[in-house]
Symmetry: D4
Subunit: 246 residues, 8 copies
């Protein structure tokens, strides 16, 4: 019984939740000892299993990637170093590394993108690693993306000359550090959902990104929500779920 | 020139931004001295002008509401007391008060709701004022809403018996105080965007809602974003923008 | 020996610091028991003695005001309630109360204002009490002031239509609560010093104004400095010192 | 006079507290200069002396371990690196290193375990070092342990398929980082004491584990208590005291 | 089918989780509109439904209490004012109010207490409301309790003269505010689990109890766990679960 | 059309804002891929583009500096290491490194300084890197500067012997770490604007400079404003804007 | 056996600690139910039992005071309201109320003061309640006190004209709110121990006195220690112990 | 004119403060460029100039030490590494290094100690570096010291067997990390001033020593004051001033 059928049986009452879950689990989760691949996650949450490389060794990421590669699962590894990529590329020929985003991506088939796009807006050049993580994640999840970079509020004319592209998106990710003001300005000019990503860019009273986080949570523009500091991945996950709504 | 024409002229280059904005302002903003009604906001951001009653006197809210009533603008007042409602109802016959949500609502015509619905999920009975503010706001913005209340994680069976209704929504608002765990549990079971609203419910180390806020920002489930503490209004604004995407 | 002569003697070495200070003190400080009037402060710091009414009784403020009135000293009382004003107006006929600013002002002669002006910019209507405190203080110190209100970043077109007036100022005070983004936007558009005043306006994660304060300290625009939360008085003092530089 | 007899004499009044303590001290505490071995601690608190390796040199841990080995005291060293283990194994043949838990264990006789078990539940793979420290400590103190790993709330079906094992424990240790939600979910499903251990796993707004700590302290499930961040050792000590109650 | 049978059917696989839960819910949860009585909670978690009166009106508590009274459920209301008690006593004759603990208790039959006791130790007189809440809760749950009050560390001789009674307990609750040092001292002298309850007693740098909370989490004595500030109820719940272990 | 003419056309209405901004952008911003040089910033804000070296590689700074050098733009790089300077000096002969300030400066023509000076006052020797950053920045912006160092409040006689030089300045920058008391003392003795710069100098409860920052924001002397921790650059920017007011 | 004899017997070994303590307790502690009078505290710590009135009812303070009065114990009640004083004065004729300090004092015999004095220095008029609490406490403990008030750092000349009196003290208490700079300035000018008392005076970023507390802990002057916010009582206790050293 | 004569002339009025200070400065302060030696500090504050090595290079400390050595000034360097000591010992033969305290000491003549002693009490072995810094500083300032180590509250019998030595001191320094409870226990047992030193020992919720700091500030024992985290030097300075009072 495939995952869809399982879920249908569950909805129709043919299967109790626990039995359904046990079967789902048998199908979806493979155990590598140090990390389980939950290949059923895509069915359940719309977001596939992803390798979070921070705190994993080169060998561990390599092994997980190889297993996913052989099982036919598309691969996204985040927070990956150049060294980790060297390990992955040996077992996953064709894997692509984005050193700024620190992501490794591999698709078994050509990745088919949505027609509607997600706008990823970044305030300053130091915010680009987080913005690029969002871009790579959104692409991996099948979303077309438009980058609008270096449009921080201290030179607001740069933002205005890009507003048409921003307004045309289905959902907008706004990445900013320091005082985190950009989402408020954009939120007041668009009628699309804005997901704000605070970054840890700054020093002193930026408190490792907490200042930008707090500022975004207190935005005077409605229609804005916020994710964790430097969490480009999470913002792209939510944006992807929104962009795929029919 | 109507607002739509104005914006088209601006897009086509016939009008510079500043001229456009001046004209928009003349059309949209009326000055009551202590508070301007920005009736053009709906065009710009998809969210109409709303009366935030906290810190305003009964007379001030009454006056704004009366003006909106006479100008044919629909009315939503948030954080309104019973006393404020008494003032409004004198000048806006038919205004409806939700004492738990602390909202006052008036529509000139019947409010036509979307077919797709927003699920508003609340953990405990103490979270209901914030959940109801979200419900009223979402309704006001033209969204159908389904309430799923009292399904906190300390009795998780209550949640499971309501999962079908939650999964059927287009976007899910999850309201929780104390440890703020509910959005993570739901986020791991659905493939729709989840907007988490921390509440100030609790005492001691809940730090006025900061604990729930931090917990939600650190959710291990992807696809979740967060708004300010007790901000049911903001969550509904973003959910409404998402629900209206075609 | 008048204060000017005293200071000249001190500079020339005729008087040691301590002797100078003792004499200054004898001239400048009058003791009311619960509060000393330091009428020499104007000579020393460019800012005269001011009555901070918070935490003082109606009778105490009345007594201080009366003494200043009789001694020929101009009066500014900040954070004064309507009740305190009733007390002062009995003994200082002609005293003027600004209920929004919570200030009481009295000048013995017509207050002569500078030709150059200080711009006082405020984001939202809730920020007006702090902005008005800045306006009244700046006026009291002899500065011409221009008010630019309700130009928050969530509707940035409102700001642009006022930029000429802002750019024409000699020094700019920007008052904002919530995410505190306005000073960054203005700082990127002007070549004048900007003094940012965070307000305690907001709720939840605004942490009583700390969020706006932190955001302003982390502004990506250079040329901005910050004062304490809700400290319209302090901002106006510094702006006044700047505006009077020749 | 043995420790038991000493304590009896003290209880019966034959010995004053101070004399008792002096004698206990003479028996129990051996001085190595940089660290005293308090071998009487087991009698007093039910928990024997343990080597906390953090901040100690390889040589210091080696010397303490050797002394305990020769005196016939069982050895548990926590927060020990591979390098420290190399030093210990030279003088304590048969010492066992758990590299994930960072513990070194040596028993002179076979460690006899309780029949009732402690369940050690962990949310994610990154939480395993802390969970393993709890497991090793509980084992060292003579407790049978059952591991239930990788059952975080974002895939709650994984938890449900393990609930029987969890419910069967006498006391439950729940280890989780990020939003720290797992103890609340488990606490609502069991009638056994739950000890929650927050971990420093996460980034940004997790604030080094403070977020998980605060969330656990605010759990909506009663019957839960909390220990310091990453303190698997402390949780196991309390669980051991509970498990040994008759 | 009774609750026990339901759970057995579930364990044997006769019933799926969801069906089981729906049936449990039908049996256990009664809806009063503003608050549901979850009478099945006792079966599930060993702790019955309790009325948390804070934030509820006199009428609401009265109505819940009356329903429980008529259904034959024993009643514990916490954080109840004198006024709330007046309401309850009208509909629950024989209800007992502890004004210091702010608890209302009613048992349909005589409450049979355990033979082993829980020691409730309090540092200062200001900590007594929290200690008494723990005492009343523990009693309500069927535990014998011994009070050891006013034994703060600033007069440590008072503690020593009570150590026998403390050591004789099966589990020890230690309540302290200010610097929260008492649990560490006791934890170093007993071989029983210690549950520490920080209180909000103090001023200035006590930060509303956060200081005592942090201190207790950092106790140098092992075997101590901590609950939320002022949470005497939660401490008693866990102590009760421990005391009833066979 | 030059920048001045552009701005005049904009003011006269000949050009809309957006067109003006596009043209300004074309003139002022050159794209190096990883960092744009906004050479129009000087016109707009009175402060030219500056290289913030932290987080940039030696090669990146070298490349930006070379481009600016060749375009005839004066160069200021802040937070530059000795290694970065080695890179710059290869392509910008004559560039000057201040190792304490960590600045690199190059002027194409002799830098003409103002007649009025900015006083840069520093409390302790550990504060000098921040003070020197302020000095170099102020000099780069064309301001004469007087250094008054090592005049911390713990030896206040050192301050008094330098007061004449401080009083003679047009604007005063005060740099201090630890308790941050120096700005208050100076603010009470001068009639010029004081810009306070907290430094991260100290340990323990200095919280990385937050203590000095908070202290300065709470100064009992009026006429003081504050910039971010260690932000000597920002203080000098504002001081420069003030010093150039006519 | 008197207290002195008891302590001698204890030192000589005639009595064990516990027996000594029990006897001490019997002599020294009288139980009023809600509050015990520990009249033995003076012997043990040099500081007698004092009534902390905050959180006690008028009747409770009255009852304790009456008991102390009748037993011949001198009375100091801190944080007492006018209303509490009215209660005490009925049963303790001759009790003296200091409304600013909020203290009630009664001595059975004339209070004999030391020859050496404690200097109590206060920065501003708002700090006087805390300073006066220190004065009254120090007097009550038998210390001569000199007041030096209104010498805040914003008008440092006021401090210099009082330095002789400050330098002549045996120990100096310095009370200050806002930026808390005064102890550093004084600490750098005297060779006597300085005890700093932060007050909660201020607003916004003063964080209820935490700013002054942190600043004082980071004083650049050695020889300074700090007590809790607004704790004039504690500062006077330590100063009294110091002043009585022979 | 010597320092004493200078001060007498100042007191008698022969010299104004500024002149006095200029002369004092000429006598006492020698400039090494990067650090001034304020040899007059001893006269003014009772505490001589000390080298704080943190943040200084080996060469800088060496140069300062050499200059002091040649000028006949006794040397104390704190926070010095082994490497820094190697530099100093080359130019100051006979300098003594305490590697645990990280201090370097040199006396030109035999250091004559007081008869009364300061007790330095430490809770755990990890607190010894801070305790030893206090010991070395107190010795350097001429005070006899008694060490009482490893007497933490988790094994309180260890403390009791040392109480006589602690009680015999003139002033007591108590060093503790983690929950910082030791000063409260000691403060309740002695009639001498207690100076509490929090250390950064611990992990997780110890927040780098802030927990111990807060706990000590909230001590329920009167007569305790607190210095900055890890500030053994500062505690010894104040203790030295107290111990030398006649």
């Amino acid at each position: 019984m495939g995952v869809n059928e399982l879920l249908k049986s569950y909805k129709s009452g043919k299967l109790g939740l626990e039995e359904t879950l046990v079967q789902l689990k048998e199908q979806g989760i493979e155990d590598l000892g140090f990390a389980k691949i939950d290949s059923g996650r895509l069915e359940r949450t719309g977001i596939p299993e992803v390798i979070y490389s921070a705190g994993k060794t080169k060998e561990q990421v390599q092994q997980i990637a190889e297993r996913m590669y052989k099982t036919g699962i598309d691969i996204l590894a985040t927070r990956a170093s150049e060294e980790i990529f060297q390990g992955v590329t040996q077992v996953v020929p064709g894997a692509v590394f984005n050193p700024q985003a620190k992501t490794i991506v591999y698709h078994h088939k050509t990745n088919k993108l949505t027609k509607d796009y997600i706008a990823v807006v970044a305030a300053g050049t130091s915010d680009l690693p987080v913005a690029e993580e969002a871009v790579e994640t959104a692409n991996f999840l099948g979303n077309k993306v438009e980058r609008i970079y270096d449009v921080g509020v201290a030179g607001i004319h740069r933002l205005f000359s890009r507003m048409d592209l921003i307004r045309g998106a289905r959902v907008i990710i706004v990445v900013a550090g320091m005082e985190g003001a950009l989402p408020s300005v954009i939120g007041g000019l668009v009628d699309k959902p804005v997901i704000a990503v605070p970054t840890s860019v700054g020093y002193g009273a930026n408190l490792g990104g907490v200042t930008a986080l707090l500022a975004m949570l207190n935005s005077c523009a409605a229609g804005i929500s916020v994710v964790n500091i430097d969490n480009g991945f999470g913002a792209a996950c939510q944006a992807g779920l929104i962009n795929k709504l029919k």
